[in-house]
């Protein structure tokens, strides 16, 4: 309400009135994260007889699981902010993983897929994985901008096709036996490597979205494409960049994932796209575009991770886990919607 007062007063007596800073959405999401953690802590003492939080290995597992989804979710967040969506990330994880994995094998492994590509320095499979992801993202962006099909359809097509490529590439057989060097990507630093990568990526993109022109363009296109165009922004070129970068991050996530579990399978990454979207949405990113922050998505991903781990910790049946997870995602959107309605009301 205070904003109405402000504009009214400003219009009338030309005085700038006190600027009330809105509490950023991230703070309330952070509170939700804290709340859920405390809830599991209490339930843990009641039902399992031990602490949920005071368990280093559990916390590490949570954060490790979050890292892969989190890296994907950062790219997805950018796409959602432009007013789009990406359904292909899970399948692209599998595609990048399968292709890159064949460049990462050690010659000492008995079942090498391409013997000429063994014992390569780790940057080669890494670059391949990133390139495959970025290429898939580029195709998504190209379809969305040049053919004007909705992002939902374009990325749905990619979701099906990329999974197909992943299966076809090795005829469905999994790829393992990576060089030690490559495996470090997921296990270095006492196995904290994925977390470090996630944090670095999060910080980079937080800065990019807030403090660079690239970020401003991303928000502007989602907020009002017409206005963005008239402001001189080349929308098509920018959208292609956003989709390609999001794809690159999917490729990175795939590399971290296979390096950590030391194997690549065509079936991996299933439903990752939905978890990534859920993380963004729980984190306050608006599906209608133009609004959302990387920090929110990171917290959203943490909430998903804590929930998953908490359910397992409480030995809740997997079926119930899914039911509850679905309910929580919907609740997050409801809250987001209400936040928007409130904003409308003050206009």
């Amino acid at each position: 309400m205070s904003t109405v007062d402000n504009t009214m007063k400003e219009a009338n007596d030309g005085q700038e009135v006190c600027k009330k800073k809105r509490i950023p959405a991230e703070v309330s999401i952070l509170l939700v994260l804290v709340g859920i953690s405390i809830m599991f802590e209490i339930l843990g003492w009641i039902f399992v007889g031990q602490s949920f939080l005071m368990n280093m290995s559990r916390l590490q597992i949570i954060i490790l699981q979050v890292s892969v989804i989190g890296i994907i979710a950062i790219g997805v967040t950018m796409i959602i902010i432009t007013g789009g969506i990406d359904l292909s990330s899970g399948s692209v994880v599998a595609m990048s993983a399968m292709i890159a994995a064949t460049f990462a094998q050690s010659s000492s492994w008995p079942k090498v897929i391409s013997p000429s590509l063994t014992d390569l320095p780790f940057v080669i499979p890494l670059a391949v994985g990133l390139a495959v992801g970025a290429a898939a993202g580029f195709v998504n962006g190209w379809l969305v901008t040049k053919t004007r099909i909705p992002p939902f359809i374009a990325t749905l097509g990619m979701m099906v096709s990329a999974r197909g490529v992943a299966r076809w590439y090795t005829d469905g057989s999994p790829v393992s036996g990576f060089t030690n060097e490559f495996a470090m990507l997921g296990n270095a630093l006492d196995r904290w490597m994925p977390v470090v990568i996630f944090i670095v990526v999060a910080i980079i993109f937080h800065v990019v979205m807030r403090y660079t022109r690239f970020g401003k363009f991303t928000y502007a296109i989602g907020a009002n494409p017409q206005a963005a165009r008239v402001s001189g922004i080349n929308i098509d070129r920018h959208l292609i960049k956003v989709y390609a970068i999001a794809g690159l991050l999917v490729g990175l996530a795939a590399m971290v994932a296979i390096a950590r579990i030391k194997t690549a399978q065509a079936g991996m990454g299933l439903m990752y796209e939905l978890d990534a979207i859920a993380a963004a949405v729980i984190g306050g990113v608006s599906l209608s575009g133009g609004r959302g922050r990387i920090a929110g998505t990171v917290i959203g991903a943490l909430i998903l991770g804590v929930m998953l781990s908490g359910f397992t910790f409480l030995r809740i049946d997997a079926y119930y886990q899914d039911i509850i997870k679905g309910a929580i995602i919907v609740t997050a959107v409801i809250i987001d919607q209400q936040r928007q309605n409130k904003r409308k009301k003050t206009t």
């Binding site: 402000n6 400003e10 363009f217 989602g222 009002n224 001189g232 133009g290 904003r343 206009t347």
Partner: protein, 517 residues
């Protein structure tokens, strides 16, 4: 990350770049034609703008004014003809190219990124960067403040656009356009959403720009503005160029004749109507922090005008009555019975209709066609049979007749409403509510962006409705319209009713006194 974006140096210091006054015209449009499917929007037109002048464009809704401006701003490509800037032919493939060539435009429809801040909107693509190449938000804030100081605008650079009133958004658009320091500044109906105070403010800004030698193209449907601010004007009709004249030596009627090709009758066809019983009665309506203790009655056949400054809460009261944002306390009575309207559907069922203020945000379904837009408020009553099937044939007939009556300029009813000119969109929305045959009609800025001829027609229509016993509430920022049409004028200030004047006592002075307190 953004290597491809074009770097620009931006000066907001208020110092104007040296301008080349050697050419007689800053901007020349030569033999430009532009057609859309089924419409020849511009037919071999011309336009010449002198530096340091305000050049008004006049013409009926759909005459092609906005289309011509969009050609100049690089948004549309002409089918033939050329645009010359300072005597040199230029091609404007993109809005960016036009901006870089020194052409800035304020669009007829507000084009702002609502979820972003005022400063971000103004400096998008031209953000100041710090030594590390990152956007310098505090510098951007300062640049905005400097710009606002220069233009005497009082808005918080960090406010989100969505929290601003339409009028303040318009001021942001104006500031943004000025910030380009361009040679040619196009303003497409900049005053359609603002009140007299802001209009005066805008004119001050325009006079300043004119002194700096900028060529200003000014589109308006308001005659008084033409005489007040324009040095020259050009008239367009049906996509054709009619002529250019100095505004000092013509009369209002001559201009209207040029615009419509015929004479238009009296401006405010107000007729005395026998007032009936009280149809709508509002008692002590309050929406915390927005408006307070609002009470009034409207009788059958009465037109109650709402006057007040922007932000005084006029539209909010209407929204509350119609159930868009229900009030916190107070009561609403219809024909002596208390009603509880919780949403617009309740209101429609009670015989109310509400033309909203912002046709783009809350009016048009931009992706749908005219027919679908005009019929959207009647899909739950007369035109639907027991099985839930829409009686499309009957609807089509009534809708088409209404569009004819309102003179909507369109090839057919299946045209996307997005492709209509602004004034014609407005007419379709008025038609939407007339189709519901309301007993209580609330009009929020009904003639915004509507040409003189059509305006008179809409006024006649409202008068006719009053004759039939409809109670009308008319919110308008155009004081002459409120004074000319209303039986009584309700004046609001900062969310309170400061007075209700009878037609006989209401004039410019008495209303403004109550509105400004």
């Amino acid at each position: 990350m953004n290597s491809a974006a074009v770097e620009e140096t931006v000066s907001v210091s208020g110092a104007t770049p040296p301008r080349d006054h050697s050419c007689e015209y800053v901007l020349e449009v030569v033999n430009v034609s532009k057609s859309f499917p089924g419409v020849l929007a511009l037919d071999d037109v011309q336009l010449k703008i002198r530096p340091g002048t305000v050049h008004a464009l006049m013409g009926e809704n759909g005459a092609g004014k906005s289309t011509l401006m969009k050609v100049i701003a690089g948004i549309y490509q002409p089918d033939s003809g050329e645009v010359k800037l300072r005597g040199e032919t230029i091609t404007l493939e993109t809005p960016l190219k036009a901006q870089q060539s020194g052409i800035a435009m304020i669009h007829q429809e507000l084009l702002l990124m609502n979820q972003m801040t005022v400063a971000e909107n103004i400096w998008i693509r031209r953000e100041p960067k710090n030594a590390f190449g990152f956007i310098d938000h505090s510098e951007m804030h300062k640049m905005t403040e400097d710009l606002f100081d220069r233009l005497n605008i009082h808005l918080d650079p960090d406010a989100e656009i969505s929290t601003l009133s339409v009028a303040n958004r318009q001021m942001v658009e104006i500031a943004k356009a000025v910030s380009f320091n361009s040679d040619v500044l196009i303003m497409d109906e900049p005053t359609s959403a603002i009140t007299e105070t802001e209009v005066a403010h805008l004119f001050e800004i325009i006079r300043g720009l004119r002194k700096q030698g900028i060529g200003i193209v000014y589109i308006t449907h308001k005659m008084s503005e033409l005489f007040e601010i324009a040095d020259e004007f050009s008239v367009f009709r049906d996509g054709k160029y009619i002529g250019t004249h100095a505004s000092a030596n013509v009369t209002r009627d001559e201009i209207i004749h040029m615009m419509v090709g015929r004479n238009v009758d009296q401006m405010f066809p107000k007729e005395e109507v026998e007032l009936g019983e009280v149809l709508l009665s509002v008692k002590n309506l309050t929406l915390e922090g927005v408006f307070n203790d609002v009470s009034f009655d409207v009788r059958a056949g009465e037109i109650l005008g709402f006057a007040g400054l922007v932000g005084s809460g006029r539209s909010n009261v209407a929204e509350a009555i119609f159930g868009v944002t229900p009030a916190d306390s107070g009561t609403v009575w219809i024909e002596g019975e208390e009603v509880h309207i919780k949403n617009p559907n309740d209101a429609i069922m009670k015989g109310m209709a509400f033309l909203t203020e912002d046709r783009k945000e809350t009016g048009c379904f931009l992706s749908l066609d005219i027919q679908e837009n005009i019929q959207s408020a009647v899909l739950h009553e007369n035109f639907v049979n027991g099985g839930g099937f829409v009686d499309q044939a009957k609807l089509n007939i009534e809708s088409e007749e209404l569009c004819r009556k309102l003179r909507v300029k369109t090839p057919d009813m299946e045209e996307a409403i997005e492709n209509l000119s602004g004034g014609n969109q407005q007419k379709v929305l008025i038609g939407r509510w007339l189709l519901t045959h309301p007993r209580i009609l609330i009009l929020d800025e009904p003639t915004r962006g509507i040409d003189v001829g059509a305006k008179a027609e809409i006024h006649t229509l409202v008068t006719q409705l009053a004759h039939k016993g409809v109670a009308v509430i008319m919110i308008s920022s155009e004081l002459p319209e409120v004074l000319g049409m209303s039986d009584r004028v309700l004046v609001m200030h900062e969310g309170r009713v400061t007075g209700i004047l009878d037609r006989s006592e209401a004039d410019q002075v008495s209303v403004m006194k109550l509105a400004a307190q």
